[in-house]
């Protein structure tokens, strides 16, 4: 018997969604999992053999929501389609550690309600452009072989060409391509990091080579892709390590293949290091940087050090011919100017700039 996918040994399905196609797909994809149908109020079952549970349920609230940004820094205007919660991969820096306290994965199967809500928003004015994604509270594609969530969503979005869907992942899963979406409306994207961080701090993720190979496969199929250097970590030899990853990108992709690249220095809720220690892990060295608490209450690397990181990355990427669509994730105007030479205002606002990058390969705006 092979190891269960993502170590999922229990499938718990709320009775309200037990007859949905997603629940059926999950049962098929997890033939060895202990299946439980939960009546309202039932507790989640314990996953057998030390595995984890996948909880297929209905989401009672809004599906489309803005990124949980803070007013103190510049947000990219990403809008989230809430398809599920938690991630089966295990990255030491992950913000989801703070959001979700157990290993249970959740997928929302009431897609009819989701499509009804999205249809109202996206259909109200077909000339209004949207840039949305599913990879905020979960990896966009980790559960795709089980839930088929993205394929279902892409089928729905085929009727809304004003929407570009970003699929942010650390897997190399491309099964969503079976939905045969219009390449202009999907931006498959990957989080990248320094090789040593990927190897030591991103458990159960696809290798850098696998991620970039998947990106190249997407480009060959007519898609443009997005890349995210977030978090950029500060450790001895970081410049050499990140340079290696930047250089590797252009072994697989040409600058024009990339819609945008984000840069984000490591930041976290102050309790994250304590959470790792409580899990019995040694604190990674990159978490011992020179951090201060920013006005949003998050721990951030001291500003001049962040500028040095971001400026280094920008210059390295520019050396390979990529500068359009490069942006800082959750940074101040001061950092933008010091690292990239301009503030979002000079791009016409970050959200508008990225919307243009997402929808228009050539770019009608002066994108640096």
């Amino acid at each position: 018997m092979s190891a269960p996918l993502w170590d999922i040994t229990a499938l718990a399905v709320d009775a309200a969604v037990a007859e949905t196609p997603m629940a059926a797909r999950a049962r098929t994809a997890l033939p060895e999992a202990a299946v439980t149908v939960l009546a309202p109020g039932d507790a989640l079952p314990q996953a057998p053999n030390g595995g984890r549970a996948l909880h297929v349920k209905a989401h009672p609230g809004r599906f489309l929501r803005p990124c949980p940004a803070t007013r103190h820094y510049r947000c990219c205007g990403y809008q989230i389609i809430h398809i599920g919660e938690n991630c089966p991969m295990d990255c030491s820096y992950c913000i989801l550690r703070a959001y979700f306290r157990d290993r249970t994965l959740t997928a929302f199967a009431n897609t009819e309600a989701m499509f009804a809500e999205l249809g109202r928003v996206f259909g109200r004015d077909p000339s209004r452009l949207f840039r949305v994604g599913t990879g905020q509270f979960a990896d966009a594609l980790a559960l795709e072989p089980i839930t088929g969530h993205t394929r279902e969503l892409l089928g729905f979005l085929a009727g809304h060409p004003n929407v570009v869907l970003e699929l942010k992942s650390k897997t190399a899963d491309l099964t969503w391509m079976e939905a045969d979406p219009d390449p202009k409306t999907v931006l498959p994207s990957w989080s990248l990091n320094a090789p040593v961080i990927v190897a030591a701090q991103e458990r159960d993720t696809a290798s850098l080579e696998a991620r970039l190979s998947a990106a190249r496969a997407c480009v060959q199929a007519g898609f443009r892709v997005c890349l995210h250097f977030d978090p950029i970590c500060w450790f001895e030899g970081w410049e050499r390590e990140y340079a290696a990853t930047v250089d590797m990108i252009f072994n697989y992709l040409a600058p024009d293949d990339i819609a945008y690249i984000s840069l984000g220095s490591f930041r976290c809720l102050p309790e994250l290091p304590g959470r790792l220690i409580a899990e019995g892990r040694e604190l990674p060295r990159y978490m011992l940087g020179e951090f201060t608490i920013g006005p949003d209450g998050k721990t951030r690397l001291l500003r001049p050090l962040r500028v040095r990181q971001l400026r280094f990355m920008a210059r390295r990427l520019a050396g390979h011919g990529f500068s359009r669509g490069l942006y800082c994730c959750m940074e101040s105007d001061e950092v933008w100017r010091a690292a990239l030479g301009q503030a979002p205002r000079e791009l016409g606002g970050l959200a508008a700039h990225l919307l243009a990058c997402a929808h228009n390969p050539g770019g009608t705006r002066p994108c640096s």
Partner: protein, 339 residues
């Protein structure tokens, strides 16, 4: 029980179960000389030899008074009516019984952290840590006292550190932090432990700065400390408060060279800018933005006018743009660079 009259010099006053024994003071000696011994000591007779179980200060004082004997009551070797204390229900080994009698005879005394540790040093090798806490804990601590847990962690430290606890230089709560240091690192830090009176918080911060700085530098805390120059600080004649502040600031500089450089630059510029005024200048939160807060408290119109004039002068000062842009300057070092 018949009283025994023993020559105090025949009694062993340095037995380990008398773990709180202290020299008698003049008041006790004077009282014994004037009024005689009012309360008998306690002994256990084994093989016809009396072992002092309680009353060591009285015995020591009587040694100083010529011709006096020690009046002691001999306890039975085993009390058939006493509840079984040994885990196997059998009689307690003699050393444990002696220790518990000594503790019981001191019941009601305020037990300091150092006294609890002294008791732990005696009992733990005989009964194990859990056995010690089960047997002696109720006599040492109130039921809701957290010191039992702290004490267990302290006992992992070398006994040489107990003197620093007794002298008030190191708090009991620092035991876990200190126990996490390797023996060589603890030895290296020892001169600083005895140099100031550490609170749990300040010592915890100091050790965190040191161990993290060492980890970033890829060396041992002992090596980091040796190159820091901080071991010379206690010899410079600083006041206790200044010495504590100096050590903490020095260790923080080791851990956060860039942050402290930025802070120092800001402090120097703000001093230059606000010299002669009562305006206080604070940087933005975490130096995140190119702004600063100017704060002044006034009690009347004259003070407000003066503050306004001071602020106007600051607005024109060449130091102002440098102060506002202080975080734009590079302060970086490679992680792990030795400072």
């Amino acid at each position: 029980m018949q009283p025994l009259f023993l020559h105090p010099r025949d009694i062993d006053l340095s037995a380990p179960h008398l773990f709180w024994a202290a020299p008698p003071d003049a008041a006790l000696t004077d009282s014994l000389a004037a009024q005689g011994q009012l309360t008998p000591a306690l002994v256990l007779e084994t093989d016809g030899r009396p072992i002092l179980a309680a009353g060591s200060r009285r015995a020591a004082a009587l040694r100083e008074i010529k011709g006096r004997t020690l009046c002691a009551l001999a306890l039975p070797e085993a009390d058939p009516d006493a509840p079984a204390l040994a885990p196997d229900g059998g009689p307690l080994p003699l050393p444990l019984r002696l220790g518990l009698i000594y503790l019981a005879s001191n019941l009601g005394r305020a037990v300091t952290d150092a006294m609890a540790v002294a008791a732990g040093r005696y009992f733990a090798p005989l009964a194990g840590l859990d056995g010690f806490l089960a047997l002696a804990g109720p006599q040492l601590f109130a039921p809701d006292d957290r010191r039992g847990r702290l004490l267990a962690r302290w006992l992992a430290l070398p006994p040489a550190l107990d003197a620093l606890l007794a002298s008030g230089h190191v708090p009991l709560g620092a035991g876990e932090r200190l126990a996490a240091l390797a023996p060589d690192d603890l030895d290296a830090f020892l001169p600083l432990l005895g140099a100031v009176r550490w609170s749990r918080g300040s010592l915890s911060a100091a050790l965190a700065f040191l161990t993290e700085a060492a980890r970033l530098a890829g060396e041992t805390p002992a090596a980091t400390l040796a190159r820091s120059g901080l071991l010379d600080l206690p010899g410079r004649g600083l006041s206790p408060n200044d010495l504590t502040a100096g050590l903490l600031a020095g260790l923080r500089r080791l851990r956060y060279p860039a942050v402290t450089t930025l802070e120092a630059r800001f402090t120097a510029l703000s001093r230059e800018l606000s010299r002669g005024s009562r305006v206080k200048i604070r940087p933005s939160q975490g130096f995140e933005s190119d702004c600063a807060t100017f704060e002044v408290t006034v009690k009347n119109r004259q003070e407000l006018s003066k503050a306004a004039a001071d602020l106007a002068a600051m607005a024109a000062a060449p130091a102002l743009p440098r102060l506002l842009a202080v975080a734009q300057e590079d302060v970086s070092e490679e992680p792990g660079d030795k400072t």
